[in-house]
């Protein structure tokens, strides 16, 4: 890594901003009509890979003695199912539990891209013609917002489905503080804040963690470019941060899944 960047003679800020910029393709007029090709390709490939793997195992699943592969998938299945069972007390198998499994595995896989050495991966993609490439889709705010807003829409959808449109509106004004006429605006304001803060905290928590992790890897990579001692310490600290990151990757995926389940379960409860 050190020699690679010595050749290019990049300044630290150039190095970091290069690694933090997306491979953006414009698909229309205005800055909104832009696609992050790297985020999209990585997330879709990872989604297909991870859910495809589970599907492949699920298709050949036997009720008899399971293979080790099936046992592992069932372990994940049981883990997610248990979590959902503790939070949501309806028919979880029709939608919420599979959604939780999807969220958990997909987010985990996308987070796990952080383990790839940033420079080597970027160099590899550079080699096949992509100048800029960010490997971690969850450090793109578009991904985390897409997930959180999808969950948010599902939340509203289930709220209306369970309580009816009138019931949902009623709940917006009549909970949580009571039915006295003078607290109704307060109730509405409270619910509004809740509806805004839920997707924000949901998405920004994941984004912040993964983005910070990526930046620290970049800083360590930059340190590694400063000479022999920097390479040694940068590698050691990079290894340490990677190991710590295993926890963060799994934990953030788990938290994201749990919040998804909690939000959807709350939408099913009437007050």
């Amino acid at each position: 890594m050190a020699t690679e960047h010595a050749e290019h003679a990049l300044t630290p800020s150039e190095y970091i901003s290069h690694h933090l910029s997306f491979n953006a393709q414009s698909v229309g007029n205005g800055s909104f009509w832009t696609l992050h090709i790297d985020t999209l390709i990585m997330s879709v490939v990872l989604g297909l890979l991870v859910m495809g793997l589970v599907w492949w195992v699920a298709r050949g699943a036997t009720a008899g003695v399971p293979t080790k592969r099936q046992a592992f998938v069932e372990l994940v299945f049981g883990f997610v199912d248990d979590q959902v069972k503790n939070i949501f007390h309806g028919n979880r198998h029709s939608f919420i539990a599979p959604t939780a499994l999807t969220v958990f595995l997909w987010v985990f896989a996308m987070n796990a891209m952080d383990f790839l050495p940033v420079d080597i991966f970027a160099k590899l993609m550079h080699g096949i013609g992509f100048d800029k490439w960010r490997a971690v889709p969850t450090s793109d705010i578009n991904t985390t917002f897409a997930l959180a807003l999808s969950v948010w829409i599902l939340m509203i959808f289930f709220s209306i489905k369970v309580k009816g449109f009138g019931g949902w509106i009623h709940e917006l004004f009549y909970s949580p503080f009571g039915t006295k006429i003078w607290v109704l605006p307060l109730n509405f304001l409270f619910n509004l804040i809740e509806y805004v803060s839920k997707p924000l905290s949901h998405s920004l928590r994941l984004f912040g963690n993964m983005y910070a992790g990526e930046v620290i890897f970049l800083l360590l990579g930059m340190w590694a470019a400063t000479g022999l001692s920097g390479t040694i310490f940068g590698s050691i600290l990079g290894a340490g941060w990677s190991i710590f990151h295993i926890l963060i990757v799994a934990l953030q995926a788990f938290i994201f899944m749990m919040l998804t389940v909690v939000y959807l379960a709350m939408a099913h409860e009437s007050h």
Binding site: W33, A58, E74, G78, T99, W106, T143, L149
Partner: protein, 156 residues
């Protein structure tokens, strides 16, 4: 921090993934696991049933054994009683037979004794008469005293 069309694309990808999982991934896994759970539960129940059946059978066999033992004891007791009875009967028969033989023998002996007594009596009377004849021949006429002598002989 630039929000753009990627968000929509990602949301679509998410929706497709959820649909895929709901439709194709979750149900077969759930079915496999639930079927296995049911099989295990059934197996455990069957094992429990088998255990209780075994217990019942053990109890039954124990009861049968006890009954058989009791019957055997009864039969042995009866046999012993019968044996004692037979022995007693045999003893009784033997005693009766012995008594009968003894009685017969006694009667015969009595007869013999009586016969001997008769003989003796006759001989003694004859001897007495002969002795008395010898003594009285000298003094008394035999014919005159014979009546008295035969009276004597009858008294002996």
């Amino acid at each position: 921090m630039n929000i753009n069309f990627t968000l929509i694309a990602q949301a679509i990808a998410f929706a497709v993934l959820i649909w895929f999982t709901v439709k194709f991934v979750w149900p077969p896994l759930l079915k496999a696991i639930e079927t296995r759970q049911k099989e295990i539960a059934d197996g455990l129940a069957a094992a429990q049933e088998g255990r209780s059946a075994l217990e019942v059978a053990a109890k039954k066999s124990e009861a049968t054994l006890a009954e058989a033992k009791q019957k055997a004891t009864e039969i042995i007791g009866q046999a012993e009683k019968r044996a004692t009875q037979i022995v007693e009967e045999a003893k009784g028969n033997a005693k009766a037979e012995g008594d009968r033989i003894i009685t017969g023998a006694k009667a015969e002996i009595d007869q013999e004794v009586n016969r001997a007594k008769e003989g003796l009596r006759a001989q003694v009377s004859a001897l007495a008469i002969a002795g008395a004849e010898k003594i009285l021949r000298k003094e008394i006429d035999g014919k005159a005293h014979s009546e008295m002598l035969s009276k004597l002989a009858a008294e002996l």
